[in-house]
């Protein structure tokens, strides 16, 4: 995103240091950076949702201090001996770790949203475009088993460029594995909410991200299987404005609701209140009805 000189509406804004004003990449308007940050990295002028890091997303959406990370002992390896020129896959991973502060592209753990305990996964687009390799696939599967063991709903914030080419066919096979994990949580009768963020594409959309019981999306997020450039190249056409955006996929019937980031937390809480395993049992048995009031399920067990 481009920095703009100290100018807004043609007026000089002296005294404000460089970087406090920014030009919105979407609407080109000059906006006050702290205001964008305050607004969960959504442009206050046009509503453009900037990409955010996985830890940042957790901070913005989960109850403070509720996140307990899992799966930190899984380490990515280089099964194919992949290298591009001088850079080996291990070098590339190291670079991604420096850029993102993560060990791979999926952060997993337990957290709470307005008191509702969930198993949560957040993908990190700063880590090799959140591509899916062996570790990501395995972590997703373990996250599902954690959710089942603790009998809590699963919420995953997807973002991905697709499968990780550096792991070749092993990366492709993670699609099968993670789709089976979704089957597992389906069988356990626990809800799985998939939130598609910018961009969700390729093998991740075509496996666990596309299989949510409830599929939500952030406004304007790119959501598609084949990349726009690939389609343009194959068909030799210019694709229409808005093609493969969240709004387009909503119109096509693949998304339950588009939810603004600033409204995501209360929305998820409402959803979790409706879908919590406690409320399901309460509907079918009078014994549990009292236990499952509108209070978060943690309230009576803690």
């Amino acid at each position: 995103m481009g920095f703009l000189k100290r100018k807004r509406n043609g007026l000089d804004a002296p005294g404000i240091p460089d970087g406090l004003w920014m030009k919105c990449a979407a609407c080109q308007q000059t906006v006050y950076r702290p205001e964008v940050e305050e607004n969960m990295h959504v442009c206050p002028a046009c509503g453009h949702h900037y990409r955010i890091g996985s830890r940042q997303r957790l901070e913005l959406l989960m109850d403070p201090g509720s996140f307990q990370e899992t799966g930190t002992n899984l380490k990515t390896v280089d099964p194919l001996g992949f290298r591009v020129g001088e850079e080996t896959y291990m070098d590339r991973l190291e670079r991604a770790r420096e850029e993102s502060g993560l060990r791979d592209a999926l952060l997993t753990g337990f957290a709470a949203i307005e008191g509702f305990r969930i198993a949560v996964g957040v993908m990190e687009s700063a880590f090799i475009m959140a591509s899916m390799g062996s570790v990501l696939g395995e972590k997703f599967c373990r996250l599902v088993r954690d959710a089942i063991r603790e009998k809590v709903p699963l919420v995953v914030f997807a973002a991905s460029g697709g499968a990780r080419m550096q792991e070749g066919i092993l990366a492709l096979m993670q699609m099968a594995k993670t789709a089976d994990a979704v089957r597992e949580i389906n069988d356990a009768g626990l809800p799985y909410i998939s939130v598609l963020t910018d961009p969700t594409s390729g093998g991740v959309l075509a496996s666990f991200a596309g299989l949510g019981d409830i599929i939500l999306a952030e406004p304007g997020a790119y959501i598609g299987f084949a990349g726009t450039r690939l389609i343009e190249g194959a068909l030799k056409v210019k694709l229409p404005e808005g093609f493969q955006r969240a709004e387009y996929q909503f119109e096509n019937g693949f998304i339950d609701q588009i939810v603004k980031r600033t409204e995501m937390r209360p929305f998820l809480a409402r959803l979790l209140r409706c879908l919590s395993p406690q409320s399901a049992r309460a509907a079918l048995s009078s014994k549990e009805a009292d236990a499952a009031s509108d209070a978060p399920p943690g309230a009576d067990t803690e």
Binding site: G168, I169, R183, F225
Partner: protein, 310 residues
């Protein structure tokens, strides 16, 4: 049909052409013999990129060549019941050695006309949904499923996106993770990305010897990682796409042998190899060798990672 000669096959055809111009019978026989030796030499030393080219050879037998040879009867089933019929994905009920099997697979096409009408074996969402319908039917009626993978990719296009290509493939995978009848998948020539895997989440996955199975076309990998489509040979080698590579990585269960030069030199022989494989599979089914739990477990184990003690 015009003979398609791949660049690395040139030396073989030079000898065959020379034999055609030979002045004596002896000379001709000697040159033909030499061409055979050259053929063996060439095919014993193929680079990964040459194998990709070979897997895409237009003369390789297609799914329907095989089903015509090995099935006693085949009744095609059309349509996904919602959008329409996808000619790139052929589904149906077959009779094999007195038993019923349900079939799904991509048909790339043989003639130019057929290739176009079948979209070069690149299925649309309704093709995958047709396959799902047939899988469910097989399950309900208690028959095993055999799939034939032969596709460069799921179709990248406007309507494909509109109808949820990614969602359709995801559904196929989840369905195959839960199907209560055995599935055999055979990669005939080219297995390309999620479009291939969507019908290859199987109890037993086989590849023909000269088939390739890959996460994405080497050209595309080269474009993205090397930022140069001409680095496709490097990409083909790096991606590990051959049948032996996939065996070594634990991603497939068996390799089906082909004659030197590939199945197109002996389609009847290749069909015989495939028939024996299906026969063994059905025998193993009868012995109760497969279960949905084992299928899940097999795929669950695929992947390499390091687990550090905390």
């Amino acid at each position: 049909m015009a003979e398609t000669i791949l660049p690395f096959e040139r030396s073989i055809y030079d000898l065959i052409e020379a034999a055609g111009r030979a002045e004596t019978v002896e000379e001709r026989a000697a040159l033909l013999k030499q061409s055979e030796a050259e053929r063996l030499r060439v095919y014993a030393n193929l680079t990964p990129w040459e194998r990709v080219q070979l897997a895409r050879h237009p003369r390789r037998p297609r799914m329907l060549d095989y089903t015509n040879r090995i099935l006693e009867d085949f009744i095609e089933l059309h349509g996904d019941r919602v959008i329409g019929d996808d000619p790139a994905m052929v589904c149906g009920i077959g009779r094999f050695r007195g038993r019923t099997i349900f079939i799904a697979g991509q048909q790339k096409g043989v003639s130019t006309e057929e290739k176009v009408s079948r979209n070069f074996g690149m299925a649309h969402p309704w093709g995958y949904r047709k396959a799902q319908r047939v899988f469910r039917l097989a399950e309900r009626l208690g028959h095993p499923v055999v799939t034939f993978v032969d596709t460069p990719a799921a179709h990248p296009g406007i309507e494909a996106e509109q109808r949820g290509q990614g969602f359709a493939i995801a559904e196929s995978l989840r369905l195959c993770a839960d199907l209560r009848v055995p599935i055999l998948a055979v990669v005939l020539s080219e297995g390309g990305s999620g479009g291939a895997l969507a019908i290859a989440f199987a109890d037993r996955v086989c590849m023909f010897q000269y088939a390739v199975y890959m996460i994405c076309p080497p050209e595309r990998c080269a474009e993205i990682l090397w930022r140069d489509v001409e680095k496709k040979e490097l990409a083909a080698a790096a991606l590990k796409v051959t049948a032996q590579d996939l065996m070594d990585l634990g991603a497939i269960d068996a390799i089906l042998p082909e004659p030197p030069g590939g199945a197109q030199y002996d389609p009847a022989g290749a069909a015989e190899v495939l028939a024996s494989e299906i026969d063994r599979f059905l025998e193993a089914c009868r012995q109760g060798a497969y279960s949905v739990e084992k299928r899940r477990e097999k795929f669950r184990r695929i992947g390499h990672w390091l687990e550090e003690s905390l």
